[in-house]
């Protein structure tokens, strides 16, 4: 297994948001600024990696019939840890992310990786898979939030970006989230199609 190849798979070939279209709710809701997007990505990466490792360790113990509830409890445990840590050390970020911190629990990426990968592979592979998928998620969130923050509030990481540019507030609001992900996804597909030689 090549680490480099795995990273490419997580970020480009099987990017959870832009290619597989998983975990859409948090990615659209928190990508209003780069800080929020990055924070959410890190939180999800932590939960994904830890739950992947634990589920992979327990994969021979968990009975097949009740595996989904078991996965959910394991994931919920790590989400609770994240919630408490965020509340204690990063209260501002916790307020910004709000309801979407507890909602990491129902993020389809995490349950999806647990079901499709961690419950079938050994601990080391699952750890790498969790990290790689988490990085892909964070990367896509960062792209979305950079676009939305620049267009919507004319800022990048909280600093003024282009002087004299009137920000389009709609990009911070709900519709802008949908438009941004549509075009980013379109660009990714266009590039993918070009690579495969499908032209139009």
């Amino acid at each position: 297994m090549m680490i480099g190849q795995e990273i490419k798979r997580g970020i480009i070939d099987e990017n959870p948001i832009l290619v597989l279209a998983l975990g859409l709710c948090p990615s659209l809701a928190v990508s209003t600024s780069v800080q929020n997007g990055f924070g959410m990505g890190m939180a999800a990466t932590f939960v994904l990696t830890c739950s992947n490792v634990i589920i992979s360790l327990l994969r021979k113990v968990i009975p097949d019939k009740v595996r989904i509830p078991c996965f959910i409890v394991i994931i919920a445990m790590f989400v609770t840890i994240v919630q408490l840590v965020l509340k204690a050390y990063l209260p501002a970020l916790d307020k910004q992310l709000g309801i979407f911190v507890p909602l990491i629990v129902v993020n389809c990426i995490i349950l999806g990786r647990a079901e499709a990968y961690a419950s079938r592979n050994n601990v080391f592979k699952s750890l790498i898979d969790g990290l790689v998928m988490g990085v892909g998620f964070t990367f896509a969130l960062c792209i979305l939030s950079v676009i939305r923050e620049i267009l919507g509030s004319n800022k990048l990481l909280g600093f003024k970006f282009v002087p004299g540019f009137q920000p389009m507030t709609v990009f911070i609001l709900a519709p802008g989230g949908f438009f941004t992900i549509a075009f980013v996804m379109g660009v990714v597909r266009y590039i993918g199609n070009r690579k495969r030689g499908v032209r139009r």
Binding site: A21, L22, L24, C25, P26, L28, A29, I68, P69, I72, V73, A76, M77, V79, T80, Q83, L84, I99, P102, L103, V105, V106, N107, C108, L111, V170, L173, A174, P175, G176, G177, F178, F179, I181, A182, F183, M185, G186, V187, R189, Y190, N193, V198, R200
Partner: protein
């Protein structure tokens, strides 16, 4: 607290102003996954209303009579997701036994709903502090919020399915086929729903 006007406010707010899909970004996976046909969208919508109503009432009772008195609010996430998963399973079994026709129409959608963030979302919103009044919802308000959020979700889902059925054979640029064009449609719908955010019912009383 229990005046009818606040109840009307909650209903309008949950359906139009804070529509779950189009302004809160909750429940996007089923919104894009099941919106290809109007008939299946209607089934999914009914199932979501059903589960959200049950989930918001049960989670309210559990939060206020078990978690809150014993000061274990931090277990909220684990408890709610388990309760919702259990409830969905129970409802599925009960439907299968007592109402096979309803099971036929809702059955396949029920397992999908367990991991729908809209259902867990409504339970969490109900027990969080309310932004306008500063206190959590009462039982009736939670129940109403659950039902109306479900109605709002179904409304958005049905509108989306109607649009997607019409545009299925439209010539769309190759790169935007499928999901991206659905996102753009949803964006336009969200833009239209943004108009409701200026809506202020009975400004003398609340809002």
């Amino acid at each position: 607290m229990m005046n009818p006007i606040s109840l009307i406010e909650i209903s309008i707010g949950a359906i139009f102003i804070n529509n779950f899909v189009l302004s809160r970004f909750l429940g996007l996976c089923p919104f894009f996954g099941v919106s290809k046909k109007v008939s299946s969208a209607a089934g999914m919508g009914m199932a979501v209303i059903f589960v959200m109503t049950i989930a918001s009432s049960f989670s309210w009772v559990i939060f206020n009579y078990i978690l809150h008195p014993y000061h274990i609010e931090y277990l909220r996430t684990i408890v709610f997701i388990l309760v919702i998963a259990g409830l969905v399973q129970l409802v599925e079994m009960a439907l299968q036994k007592y109402s096979p026709t309803l099971y036929e129409s809702l059955g396949i959608f029920l397992p999908l709903i367990t991991t729908n963030c809209a259902v867990l979302g409504v339970a969490i919103i109900n027990t969080d502090l309310n932004q306008t009044t500063g206190s959590p919802y009462t039982f009736i308000e939670s129940l109403l919020n659950g039902i109306m959020s479900g109605v709002g979700f179904s409304l958005a889902l049905l509108l989306m399915a109607g649009i997607r059925e019409k545009t299925e054979f439209s010539p769309v640029p190759k790169a935007l086929e499928g999901l991206p064009i659905a996102f753009i449609t949803a964006g336009l719908m969200a833009l239209a729903f943004l108009g409701f955010s200026g809506l202020n019912f009975f400004p003398a009383v609340g809002g």
